[in-house]
């Protein structure tokens, strides 16, 4: 009994030290990434190529999900607001929910599963097949040539994807509320226009999505770069990317929301 408790404690201790170590290694990796970013910013073509793979190829899932989320918001919002006779404000509800929260958060979660996992798997397999070592032996830094372009592509793509997600969501809400249910078209848009503040609602959403973009791509590239060069190692790293990114997005969202709210309670 005592022995089992001791073993559990030792295991917990090992896990704790391991995780602290990983956080340290990831921070160091982030600084190395920043130092190596000069090349990819000078040769912007490398970044644009990755924007295509991470951003453009994620468009379908972002557009379709945005549309559905907006439609559901429209339905649910109309149902609830009707109780208070405020069904004309459904446009405001859809727009604010999407711009402040759902746009950045859901788009980032989808980005982590679609593009983050792909980045980890690709870098992990490049490592396993010695492509990164080969590059290093050719006096080309893998950090500058492979990692940094993927990172900057993620940072650029993420706010754009979140914006597209929100726009599609608002369009979905419009389809449900105005076209299907019959809320007045003018009221829907004018109320939204009056209630949404550009700096407070739109820009805060953009800031969130940039932070999520940095978090997801740092995690994805680090996990790929750090993956043991085996099939099992790469699959474990891919899973860790999705899990850690999702947790990072949700916890960062709480912190950012708390910082951004005006707080006149």
């Amino acid at each position: 009994m005592l022995d089992r408790a001791r073993r559990t404690l030792v295991r917990l201790g090992h896990n704790f030290i391991d995780n602290v170590w990983r956080v340290g290694a990831m921070t160091r990796f982030f600084f190395m990434l920043m130092v190596a970013s000069g090349t990819s910013l000078r040769r912007f073509r490398l970044v644009m190529r990755e924007v295509y793979f991470t951003g453009v190829l994620s468009l379908i899932i972002i557009v379709v999900s945005g549309l559905f989320v907006g439609m559901v918001l429209g339905l649910q919002g109309f149902e609830t607001l009707q109780t208070y006779g405020a069904q004309d404000s459904v446009g405001v509800l859809v727009a604010l929910s999407l711009l402040r929260e759902l746009g950045p958060v859901v788009a980032a979660l989808l980005f982590a599963s679609r593009a983050g996992s792909a980045i980890t798997a690709e870098i992990g397999l490049m490592k396993a097949t010695e492509q990164l070592t080969a590059m290093d032996m050719m006096a080309v830094s893998p950090m500058a040539r492979v990692i940094a372009p993927r990172f900057w592509a993620g940072v650029i793509s993420m706010p754009l994807l979140a914006a597209i997600f929100s726009a599609m969501g608002i369009f979905g809400g419009y389809l449900v509320a105005v076209v299907m249910i019959g809320v007045d078209n003018g009221t829907f848009w004018s109320q939204m226009q009056a209630a949404v503040d550009f700096r407070y609602d739109v820009m805060n959403g953009v800031v969130k999505s940039i932070v999520f973009g940095i978090a997801v791509t740092v995690i994805a590239t680090f996990e790929g770069f750090d993956a043991p060069p085996t099939a099992e190692g790469v699959s474990g790293a891919t899973t860790r990317t999705v899990v850690s990114s999702s947790l990072a997005i949700l916890s960062l969202d709480l912190v950012l929301t708390a910082l951004m709210l005006r707080g006149d309670y």
Binding site: L125, M126, T129, E130, Q131, T133, A134, M135, D136, M137, M138, A139, V140, S141, R145
Partner: protein, 275 residues
């Protein structure tokens, strides 16, 4: 350091963690020669290449390439040296997201700063030398193992390096591809005026193309000589390797407690004797 040696390895020790891999190993690789480093799997041959390339640092001793101590170079110095050396990896390590052409063009585009027309000419020239000019549009996934190795060879020599290191260039190849790769290594080395180091355990193939051989076992050089001297040697460990004997100085069994003890025979015998 003498001018005729391009690579000098002096009493190098290296270990992964507490496990020693190389223990006081010394070698000389003369300029313009093809030198083979042979030994069983896991004897530290690939580690030696990584030490020469500066990917690992020796625990003790020094490795000099073209007069420079590799582990004392800073990052820029090391990258400057690496631009003049190249390595062929065991399975080619071709970039899977690029065509054959782009793979071979990669070092030129990164370093040479020459026009795209010149890149095209140089790449096609090297691909012609390995017989794969017609395959320049293919992706690495469309190549056979032997073809991938030849593309990697073209990429390794595209910058006309002074030193080319080959990590198991014959592993997993059919006999035809094996002799094609073997003769290419020799021909390219002589045509480019380069120096080559081949890490291999393929005795027959490498004996035909190399100028000098080193045998490594348990982290040390246990035998060396020209192919002729190696064929005639009486050193037990080299003899075992060259003739492919299953047991000898390199044991068949991994270290273990005695078989009788492990399967419980010893206890049973003692019990029987007691009874």
């Amino acid at each position: 350091m003498t001018a005729e040696n391009l690579v000098e390895i002096d009493a190098v020790n290296f270990g992964y963690g507490r496990r020693p891999v190389l223990e006081g190993i010394s070698m000389r690789v003369p300029r313009g020669k093809v030198v083979a480093i042979m030994g069983g799997s896991g004897c530290g041959k690939t580690t030696l290449l990584r030490l020469i390339g500066g990917q690992l640092r020796p625990g003790k001793g020094a490795i000099r390439v073209d007069g420079k101590v590799v582990h004392e170079l800073d990052r820029e110095g090391l990258y400057a040296l690496r631009r003049r050396m190249s390595m062929l990896f065991q399975f080619g390590a071709l970039f899977t997201d690029m065509t054959v052409f782009d793979n071979v063009a990669f070092p030129l585009r990164e370093h040479a700063g020459i026009s795209e027309e010149m890149v095209r000419d140089l790449v096609l020239m090297k691909l012609e030398a390995v017989g794969l000019r017609g395959a320049h549009n293919l992706m690495p996934s469309e190549l056979s193992g032997g073809m991938a190795r030849r593309v990697a060879l073209a990429r390794a020599v595209v910058m006309d390096p002074m030193l080319v290191m080959y990590d198991e260039p014959f592993a997993g190849l059919d006999p035809i591809s094996m002799s094609v790769v073997g003769s290419l290594i020799r021909r390219l080395n002589d045509a480019l005026g380069a120096t080559s180091i081949i890490v291999t355990h393929d005795v027959v193939e490498s004996m035909q193309i190399v100028d000098y051989l080193y045998f490594v076992a348990e982290g040390r050089v246990v035998g060396e000589g020209t192919p002729q001297q190696i064929r005639e040697t009486q050193l037990p460990v080299v003899h075992q390797f060259v003739h492919g004997e299953t047991d000898g100085p390199v044991p068949f069994h991994y270290p273990a407690p005695s078989y009788d003890e492990d399967v419980g025979l010893a206890a049973a015998r003692a019990e029987a004797a007691h009874a």
